[in-house]
Symmetry: C2
Subunit: 259 residues, 2 copies
């Protein structure tokens, strides 16, 4: 199980990443270069990027892992990140990089899902991954870690001031976004390229702007192309449950067009 | 029913707006000045703004209605907007302005929910309404209209390139955000200041980036402080159903702290 999980994670890195997560460089994402665990964000070395590949859609692609600590992260966020990086040293957990970058999938890969690749190229010229489309510290600051043995993904998340709903608290849509992103990552590692089919969220307490929370997601059941998952959002000390959610993800069939 | 609905809408304008919707100028939101229905965004005249009020948190507040047409709106979006503005002429529908602005509620109003108003002031100095926190055309472009007789709110929505999930399509979290914002507005008009307690979304088809969709929401049932609502997202020609959702909103009790 662990071996097949790691294999899927490596495949994701080559194919360009899951829904909700921008494409990874076509290289082992666990290498110290991409995932240094240091207190700053780093650009992947050019030889590993898709940017120089004539088959990619954009030549401006910069692979900057945005799941690494930056000056906007609070003390709680940094401590949690360091704890999970420590847990990752023995291989039981894996840090999952993520990127804001423009669309970088190779044309032949994307043609599987979008036969009109030219049209897609035009549409995607400005596109950015939604949870990574804010400037540093203003929106979604987060990092994810996956445990292949337990089939679960943890997201540590700090919500910035541009995510406001009721004054002083996160918008329900911002909470739903991080839940969908975390469950999506958990699903994709389990079954490959998949999309959300249903999402059921119970908002138990409002989450204050700027606070750090932990999203724990897990695979509950697999039925063919269907994957049932659940998650909860807790405070750093685990005493407060902010939200709970269940979801159904469906593995995409390469023979089926999305439009 | 119609009369009480209009009364609630006017009250909202005075108190600062619902969750998910920034505060309105303390003036009739249906006046031609705030809601001109013209093809450009306008600033509300200063005399109607809270900015000159020493009791407000910020003196930099600009009340710019972001639910009016701008150059990023597609032809479909403009046509729909004009259709609903036309329907609003006889009073059966009402256009609901919305704002990005910094937190502007008066201290005495916000003390009802946040006893430590000083702390809230610090937290909220940078805060922006989540669905309005993107630059023009890049994120959520939308306008809402409410029908008091039928207790329903319609949102016309065009999703920009920064809302991407699966390449070429809206992120599930972006769809959830607009659903929550629309249902929230429908709830607040019905029962006053309320928050999402649960949200159940069925994603039936992916929504292409840049396309225009229509979110139809309605009140299904009221039980004391609980409000049950539902909505669907359809294409402009109404032939394609992209998503369906149900939700529970709970009216906030002014005697209860949120934290």
């Amino acid at each position: 199980m662990l071996r097949s999980c790691v294999s899927r994670l490596r495949m994701l890195a080559v194919l360009g990443g899951p829904p909700g997560v921008a494409p990874l460089p076509a290289k082992d994402p666990w290498s110290p270069r991409v995932n240094p665990g240091a207190g700053r964000r780093e650009r992947a070395a050019k030889p590993g990027c898709v940017s120089g590949d004539p088959r990619s859609f954009s030549s401006e692609v910069i692979h900057m892992d945005l799941s690494l600590p930056n000056p906007s992260w609070s003390e709680d966020m940094r401590l949690l990140f360091d704890q999970f990086m420590k847990k990752s040293e023995d291989g039981s957990w894996k840090h999952l990089p993520s990127y804001k970058s423009k669309f970088t999938q190779r044309t032949e890969d994307i043609k599987i899902y979008f036969p009109d690749a030219k049209l897609m190229k035009e549409k995607l010229s400005q596109a950015q991954l939604f949870p990574r489309s804010f400037e540093e510290g203003l929106g979604f600051e987060y990092a994810m870690f996956h445990n292949c043995v337990e089939d679960r993904t943890v997201c540590i998340f700090q919500g910035g001031p541009y995510l406001q709903g009721v004054p002083g608290f996160l918008h329900g849509g911002a909470i739903a976004t991080m839940i969908d992103a975390t469950l999506g990552m958990c699903a994709i590692v389990a079954i490959g390229f998949a999309m959300t089919a249903s999402l059921n969220i119970s908002f138990k307490r409002p989450i204050p702007l700027g606070s750090v929370v932990v999203i724990n997601s897990q695979v509950d059941k697999v039925e063919g192309r269907k994957l049932f998952l659940s998650c909860n959002i807790r405070s750093v000390d685990e005493k407060t449950v902010y939200s709970e959610a269940t979801s159904l993800f469906v593995k995409l069939d390469p023979k089926t067009r999305l439009t």
